[in-house]
């Protein structure tokens, strides 16, 4: 049963990641390869605040969101100037810089040794320290995030982001400050990405930088390429599919050493095939062009 709960918790975590990345990618049309850095920075800030300064769970969650938003603002500055693959390249560079800092600043993050013994989330006298309770907690958090992101997508703000994606010049000529909206969408997305980071740290009770690599960023982006983006359903389906894929492979009795590579080969193929034959993914709205 715990195995089943574990998968559901991972789906909760990745659903928030995918839907938050959906804002810049699916709505604004900015392809970003730095989402894992926000995820990681969220995890590290809350962990360090809780363990080194003894700050409570809720305040450190808020601080990690704040820190991630700040990082998002820094990373989105290139969007003022860069377009297309140059923008992607700059987010990739930021992703690698963030990872190498987490990896090499050993005195703060313990680098490759990771941080063990992260305390369980604890607030208002409730301790979330069993797998079933963590499932309930993460589902509640995910529901709140999903609701907020859903509202955001339907709001005038979300529609304006879509307008920028479809035709930036028209949006500008309506007197909208498109650069400001691009940066805002990126920063909001970064803030939301910190939340699954905090969940992940509390659930695993151990983090190290290898969970927040460029490969992880590519994985999150591939979730919304495969599921589809620009709406709500696409990333949700993408997450369920991508998290269940290795479990399905395990049922086919493939050895563990092959599963990890096999899963990556399948999603690499899916990216190539979908971009070519079905650029809106399984159930997306936005067609990558």
């Amino acid at each position: 049963m715990n195995y089943f709960f574990h998968i559901l918790i991972m789906i909760n975590i990745y659903m928030i990641l995918a839907l938050s990345l959906n804002i810049p990618v699916g709505y604004t049309g900015l392809l970003s390869l730095s989402h894992a850095s926000f995820y990681g920075v969220g995890a590290y800030i809350s962990t360090l605040l809780m363990m080194k300064l003894g700050i409570g769970f809720i305040p450190s969650l808020l601080f990690s969101i704040f820190g991630s938003v700040l990082l998002g603002l820094v990373i989105s500055i290139p969007s003022l100037r860069l377009k297309g693959d140059y923008f992607m390249l700059s987010t990739l560079a930021f992703q690698i810089v963030t990872f190498t800092i987490l990896y090499n600043w050993v005195s703060l993050t313990r680098g490759p040794y990771g941080i063990p013994g992260i305390p369980a989330p604890q607030f208002f006298g409730i301790i979330i320290d069993t797998i079933p309770s963590f499932l309930i907690f993460s589902s509640a958090v995910a529901s709140i995030c999903l609701y907020l992101l859903y509202i955001l997508g339907k709001s005038p703000f979300g529609r304006l982001l879509k307008a920028i994606r479809e035709d930036e010049l028209s949006a500008m000529s309506l007197g909208k400050n498109t650069v400001k909206f691009k940066i805002t969408s990126f920063a909001i997305s970064a803030g939301f990405a910190a939340i699954p980071g905090v969940l992940f740290a509390g659930y695993m009770t151990y983090i190290d930088p290898t969970s927040f690599t460029l490969e992880e960023s590519i994985f999150i982006l591939s979730i919304i390429i495969i599921g589809g983006s620009g709406n709500f359903l696409g990333p949700v389906l993408g997450t369920i599919f991508m998290i269940l894929l290795p479990e399905i492979l395990r049922f086919l009795a493939l050895p563990d050493s092959i599963i990890a590579n096999m899963r990556q080969i399948i999603y690499g193929f899916l990216i190539i095939l979908l971009l070519r034959f079905r650029p809106q993914g399984i159930k997306g709205e936005y067609k990558f062009q």
Partner: protein, 293 residues
């Protein structure tokens, strides 16, 4: 110590220049950010490993086989992945993403077949030579000579030969080239095969020096791409210069801090360049969008 690090840096830079020139030739003429170049880099040295270490073929024959297959795979990647996307009028970002997908596929195939651990191609301690106060291994000297000759030949070829002029023509205006009656497809084949061979040579040289694992391609490709941006998009001499500068800079980072911060410095440099001088050190000032057209 400083001299030694400078020498190491320049040799590393020359090795980067091979990857970078191959990548640059593809990027400038086809406008495709060829991420899969990194996986071709990896594939090539694994092919060499198969022929040389596993099948025990003689060194020159193993080199010939692995580089020929690399060239063919380079062309296949173009025909199967990029040409259909270009026909569909997909943007450069989509080509880059597809390329990233292909990178994942190839590298994981390699990891599945050969395993994730580091493999050694030439076991034992390499003979070293002392020049002044600098000590170099035989592979390093080989890298220096081969990279320098290949890069120089390549640049002279681009300047003087007819095909070289066509390649530069395709960089400047692909449509005009087809109006002139020159089939762009033939040039694409040339560019992808030769570019892939360059990556293969670099990966084999580097593999002889430090061994191989399935993930070497990503960093090699990114270093090459950074070299292209340093030198300026569209300028082959700039790419060469950028690669040597990057290698030297990374070596000096070791001197000042430690090897761990190499990547941080490299990619901070990339961000700073993209923000403040996207045309590179040799490029003329123009808007980024124009340089990509």
């Amino acid at each position: 110590m400083l001299l030694q690090l400078l020498a190491n840096g320049i040799i590393t830079g020359l090795c980067y220049s091979l990857v970078a020139l191959g990548f640059a030739m593809i990027y400038f003429t086809t406008k495709t950010f060829h991420f899969a170049h990194g996986s071709i880099y990896t594939l090539s040295v694994y092919l060499f490993f198969t022929f040389y270490n596993m099948a025990n073929l003689p060194f020159p024959i193993a080199i010939f086989f692995s580089l020929s297959i690399t060239a063919v795979i380079g062309i296949l990647v173009d025909e199967l992945i990029y040409v259909p996307l270009i026909k569909k009028k997909s943007s450069q970002s989509i080509q880059m993403l597809s390329s990233l997908g292909l990178y994942i596929v190839i590298v994981n195939f390699i990891a599945m077949i050969y395993g994730n651990e580091t493999k050694v191609i030439s076991p034992g301690i390499q003979p070293t030579y002392q020049i002044g106060s600098v000590i170099l291994t035989r592979v390093q000297i080989l890298t220096f000579i081969i990279s320098l000759i290949l890069s120089a030949t390549f640049m002279i070829f681009l300047k003087l030969s007819k095909l070289g002029i066509m390649i530069r023509g395709m960089r400047d205006d692909p449509e005009l080239l087809s109006i002139m009656g020159i089939p762009p497809r033939k040039i694409r084949w040339f560019v992808f095969s030769v570019g892939s061979v360059f990556a293969g040579v670099a990966s084999i040289l580097n593999g002889l020096d430090v061994g191989i694992d399935p993930n070497i391609g990503m960093l090699a490709l990114l270093n090459g791409a950074v070299a292209v941006i340093i030198g300026g998009v569209g300028i082959f001499e700039g790419t060469f210069l950028g690669a040597v500068l990057l290698g030297t800079l990374q070596s000096l980072v070791i001197w000042k801090t430690s090897a761990r911060w190499q990547n941080t410095i490299t990619f901070l440099l990339l961000i700073i360049l993209l923000l403040f001088r996207p045309q590179g050190i040799l490029g003329k000032k123009q808007r980024v969008e124009e340089s990509l057209q």
